[in-house]
């Protein structure tokens, strides 16, 4: 696998994906759902970046825009030195092999009329991996072992498997074309805790063995703390804070990250209650507030936050979009 030695495997710069709201007879755009506005992030080879945020913050759209499943309006998606947004369909094709995705609901992403062997082998056939069908069957058997499924079950249909097993099938399908980066979009969110632990362990083993990079899209901060090397926190289409996971969990600098971390109920019986939760709801992404997008819910809001968008302040490896963040020069 060729990897550009200089810089990260994936770098997203100033990404913007807005969806038009069409109304009236002429279906004219009367506004936009501003799903993703100005997103920067980077994923290093062999590492995990978690993209966290609440529903509607745009995290799934970021993943889909990277894979060009949604059309971004602006920005760059640089994978291994090449801007994917500039490529035509034919030039994009090899990258579809190097970037794979695993979704939240495995049953919805597996064709119920196909045997799982064919589901896993489909991508190989499409990209010319394996000399013939029997070779591909051998490869599927190997992949099944790797994701800890019984290879004898590969001729069954998706509905014959449990939720955890189906997610293993989706992972095997992603691995089948030998990718460098897998986007996991809430890949463990629908699973029970005991099964979730099994899948998280599997993802970590695969990363160690194969040097995979993960863009892990999730709302579950417990999973992020355990799995991700780096984390980017999203709110209303923007990254509000990013940096190494341990550092962000230890001392979050953005008030939204602080509120988000405090909102997760602890399982430590000695601790409960704690700080008052963030008030209010997330504003609509079709009409984000002026100034700082978070000012309507921020406990530390100042006058200038209502009119002036804060710049991204960096200190060390941590960046935060807040006037009060260390390094913003205005604290």
């Amino acid at each position: 696998m060729s990897t550009n030695a200089s810089g990260p495997l994936l770098r997203v710069e100033r990404l913007r994906t807005w969806f038009p709201i069409n109304r009236g007879l002429m279906r004219r755009a009367v506004g936009h759902v501003q799903a993703v506005t100005d997103v920067h992030l980077s994923v290093e080879a062999g590492r995990t970046l978690a993209l966290v945020g609440e529903s509607g913050c745009g995290k799934t759209t970021v993943g889909r825009s990277i894979l060009r499943l949604e059309q971004a309006q602006a920005g760059r998606v640089i994978f291994d030195g090449v801007d994917l947004l500039e490529l035509d369909a034919a030039a994009m094709r090899p990258y579809r092999q190097r970037l794979q995705i695993v979704f939240q609901d495995p049953l919805a992403s597996l064709n119920p009329r196909m045997r799982v062997r064919d589901i896993v082998a489909e991508g190989m056939r499409s990209f010319g991996i394996g000399s013939d069908e029997s070779d591909r069957t051998d490869r599927v058997a190997h992949l099944f072992e790797r994701v800890q499924l019984d290879a004898a079950q590969m001729w069954r249909y998706p509905h014959e498997f449990s939720g955890g097993q189906r997610q293993r099938i989706c992972i095997a399908r992603a691995l089948a074309v030998d990718p460098q980066l897998i986007i996991c979009d809430e890949a463990v969110s629908a699973l029970d805790v005991s099964i979730q632990a099994q899948i998280l362990n599997l993802l970590r083993e695969l990363q160690d063995e194969l040097g995979l990079a993960y863009l892990f899209i999730t709302h579950d901060l417990g999973v992020v703390r355990y799995l991700a090397h780096d984390v980017a926190v999203m709110y209303l289409g923007q990254i509000v804070e990013s940096g190494p996971t341990a550092q962000i969990f230890e001392s979050p600098s953005h008030p939204y990250t602080q509120g988000l971390l405090q909102a997760v109920p602890s399982v430590d019986p000695q601790r409960r209650g704690g700080a008052p939760p963030l008030s209010g709801d997330v504003p609509s992404p079709s009409a984000p507030p002026g100034g700082c997008y978070f000012h309507t819910r921020c406990p530390l809001v100042m006058d200038r936050c209502r009119s002036e968008p804060p710049p991204v302040a960096s200190q060390g490896a941590v960046s935060a979009r807040c006037f009060l963040a260390p390094g913003s020069g205005s604290e």
């Binding site: 609440e54 632990a197 909102a263 109920p265 399982v267 963030l278």
Partner: protein, 337 residues
Amino acid sequence: MSRLLSVEGLTTRFPLAGVHVPIVDESTFAIDRGEVLALVGESGCGKSMTALSIMRLVPKPGRIHSGRVELLGRDLLGLSVTEMRAVRGGRISMIFQEPMTSLNPVMRCGDQVVEAIRLHDEVSRKDALARCRELFVQVGIPDPDARLRAYPHQLSGGLKQRVMIAMALSTRPELLIADEPTTALDVTIQAQILRQLLELRREIGMSILLITHDLGIVNELADRVAVMYAGRIIEQGERTDVLGRALHPYTQGLLRSMPALATPGRRLPEIPGVVPSPAEWPMGCRFATRCQLAEDRCRREVPGATARSDNHVASCHAVEEGRAQAPAGGEPEGAAR
């Protein structure tokens, strides 16, 4: 505190491939006035069916087979349909996971709550509406007058759940059954709703039966905890005991496998295998197929309850024989959370 609800030997069976499978099997627990009991377990363990059995809303072809459900000493299973209807939504209310599917989409929120009030109380529409507005304020709905006239789709998920809570509280129930009340909500909204439930319980002294799969929410809200696995309650006790000094290998395994408690970079301790489907339930301890401590006796004999203290019991042969692992609990190994 006085006893509000006591459930004894409750068994609810569903016919499955010709046999009657006890989806809820000999459940015994009690809730005092003002107390929050959490019924916790993974999907399919029977926790929701326990709630539906208490409400006598078990979907067909399921049937309550045996047991007693006493509310203030009166057996609900012996009530007539009419009597039960007065209890349901009256003395016991229920809120569900998905507020959108529980609210009528073509009826204004205020009208729905008014309907619920007038179903149980003979009051004028005007008085019911005034009471509804009070409830909206009580459950923390901002701008209540506008929300009375709003349709459900005009509200966010958090607000819809608050409307559901207002409706559930409208008849001043003694027991609120909350079935995964925050599972569909974002964490910051979940924190708001949990805080609201705690406040309401303090203000009006109602009891809550909380049904959840999330041990964090249990810790936040519950006084006592009952852990369910494959239809049976396998451990029960005070919140601090069950989460801090868990006895049953399943409870211990659940706590250990939580990523929030694990050390990053180290392998998560898994519970091997999957929850068996009801058709494959083993005859002895139902956890025996996944338990590292399982011996012959576990596979043959249903374990009885072993009490570690008055308030903390576990149904496990290993615990009874003193060969269980040291109590495991929710103290984080590394940094907090």
